[in-house]
Symmetry: C2
Subunit: 363 residues, 2 copies
């Protein structure tokens, strides 16, 4: 928070000479760009991380190369700022690392802006990346009414971010704002489903949607295909300050891995956080199991192992929760992009069921 | 139909010598590929079109270059076949034309397989394209139970298709099947929303979903950003045989274009189809208008022009329908990929409202 306050003072000072732009803006006036890391960065599981990484990946030398790569993406991070500019633009550079066939380029390498309106964070526009490129520039919104706006800008889900600048009309101001979700902080550790593999833009992964629905800060530590209850995830949770943890830890491991790893995993987290609610989500019934018998057997065994394991954990530990079904995507079989990853439709069906339960647990 | 029957005979003849694979399949036996155009191709607005075009674009010399390009994509087409293979694979070549930042590669250049199960077309798997490539190969499903399966495979939405081969275990059979939706045929002419710009896979554009929901064949003539009530669309409808037409013709034009073009458009279609139901969808309230006043003015004027124009048309013509709201995407502002294009979530909300109305009109 100290750092953010310094940033706020710096930004306000830097822009103090600028006139307020109310009623002054002509058609397409010039733009002034500010480096987004002078604004408020929210949704990090731990306070510090270099550049636009969501986690300081060098703090955990036993991360696998894939997890290290994914955790260096800014997945789930957002920049919070206040501006009176009628136009908001962005220039950004990505590493070009991510290329999911189940992800739109906007979700992968783009930006999503929300503005507070009548007390609600409301979709305002997206920053469209250039297809299959590393350098991007986009007008996110323009021709807005006068007045101060509170903004959060969600960052790319599946790409590294080298730099990000936000542009406003030169006669207007932009400044860091205090964390808009100061009440509670939740850290989510999970699979591609948490990561947001098949959502349509960076504001639609379920942790980002929970953030706006529950008015609590959510850190996204989803790692596509990689979350198999490894010990390093437990240590990351142990090292993170949170008012609750959500674990999507049954989507990637096998039944055997769940049997071997669940109890030690919970023990490490519980030792560091004796009272904090630990909320485990049962994984979804994959649509790839509709006709594939081998997949169906593997997946059923996994979900049964999770249910058995959690039964023991619930008997042993207080303030641990198992939401089952944890990812109910409906029964029309049309809520995933590829049989595994919920689309925005699947995510919405999941949230209708789990958001009220998570709210109830954390309140 | 004659052509399809010839194809069926040809395919059955070609494979007559092959043993049925029941209980014979070992692990990963060899594959036999058949050219998909020897199977049954459904969802074309007009009977013939060269290659994998959805419409014979040379029949309409006044198509704009963009519409000509889009109509040469196989958008909305599907291949219907019957197989007893436990595994279905595909090899296909695309032209690499489409690169939407709001579209997954699976929707853009991939395939989506549905199999009939308990009388319902059920999602089975996707054919994953190779990212940013023209040559693709994918195992769509494997390890299925024995027995004949009725299959429909939806084709790429935003890419040209040069060739498509479907692979089955060599000891098994694959054959064309009769059109699975013989009851009614509906032709949809429209914008990117019809085209399926932001859906997650080729089976999720709303015409494809209506096809499975209503058990009627739906042809998709959506052309991203290009459907401004031009006369050639009316002539395409006039030349197409259909039990009803659905028009998403208010998403792209300006208010002025709607005022000038709607009546002549309806006149041309009605002259060719004196009794056929013509169903017009009011366009959606774009989420880009949440804060952008210029866009809001333009969009409101457009929707008002559509409502005024349709009032006159309804007074003048019988069996014309105006569904308003025609694209109700909800009020949480989170049902589009980019402020304009409904994600699978937006499409689902639209269908909950319009599918029963369309069913009622057509029955």
């Amino acid at each position: 928070m100290t750092i953010n306050l310094i940033k706020i003072r710096f930004t306000i000072a830097a822009l103090a000479g600028a006139l307020c732009c109310m009623a002054l803006h002509a058609k397409k006036p010039s733009l002034t760009y500010v480096d987004a890391d002078a604004l408020t960065v929210i949704n990090r599981a731990q306070e510090q991380a270099p550049g636009w990484q969501r986690l300081d990946v060098d703090r955990y030398p036993d991360l696998t190369p894939k997890v290290k790569s994914y955790y260096s993406y800014p997945t789930g991070l957002a920049v919070a700022f206040r501006t009176n500019s009628p136009r908001i633009t962005a220039r950004w550079k990505t590493t070009g690392k991510g290329h999911g066939v189940n992800t739109t380029a906007i979700a992968q390498s783009g930006l999503a802006l929300y503005i507070k309106s009548d007390g609600k964070w409301t979709f305002a526009g997206v920053g469209k990346p250039t297809y299959n490129a590393k350098k991007h520039s986009s007008t996110i919104i323009q021709d807005m009414a006068d007045g101060q706006k509170d903004c959060i800008l969600y960052l790319p889900i599946y790409d590294g971010l080298d730099s990000l600048e936000i542009g406003v009309d030169s006669a207007c101001t932009i400044s860091a704002m205090p964390n808009p979700f100061p009440r509670k902080k939740i850290v989510v550790i999970g699979s591609s489903i948490t990561h947001g593999s098949a959502v349509s833009h960076p504001g639609m992964a379920y942790p980002a949607r929970l953030e706006r629905m529950l008015d609590m800060e959510f850190a996204n530590l989803g790692a596509s295909g990689q979350c198999k209850l490894e010990e390093f995830y437990a240590r990351i949770a142990a090292d993170s300050k949170a008012d609750a943890f959500v674990f999507d830890t049954f989507s990637n491991p096998s039944a055997e891995q769940i049997e071997q790893r669940l109890e030690p995993f919970v023990r490490i987290v519980r030792e560091a956080h004796p009272e904090t609610p630990l909320i485990f989500l049962q994984t979804l019934r994959r649509e790839t199991t509709n006709f594939n018998r081998g997949t169906a057997d593997f997946e059923n065994a996994k979900r049964e192992a999770a249910a058995r394991g959690m039964k023991k954990i619930l008997a042993e530990y207080d303030n641990v929760y198992f939401i089952d079904p944890g990812m109910p995507i409906g029964d029309d079989h049309d809520a995933t992009c590829d049989g595994v990853h919920p689309s925005d439709l699947g995510m919405d069906r999941i949230l209708q069921v789990i958001a009220p339960q998570i709210r109830e647990i954390i309140r």
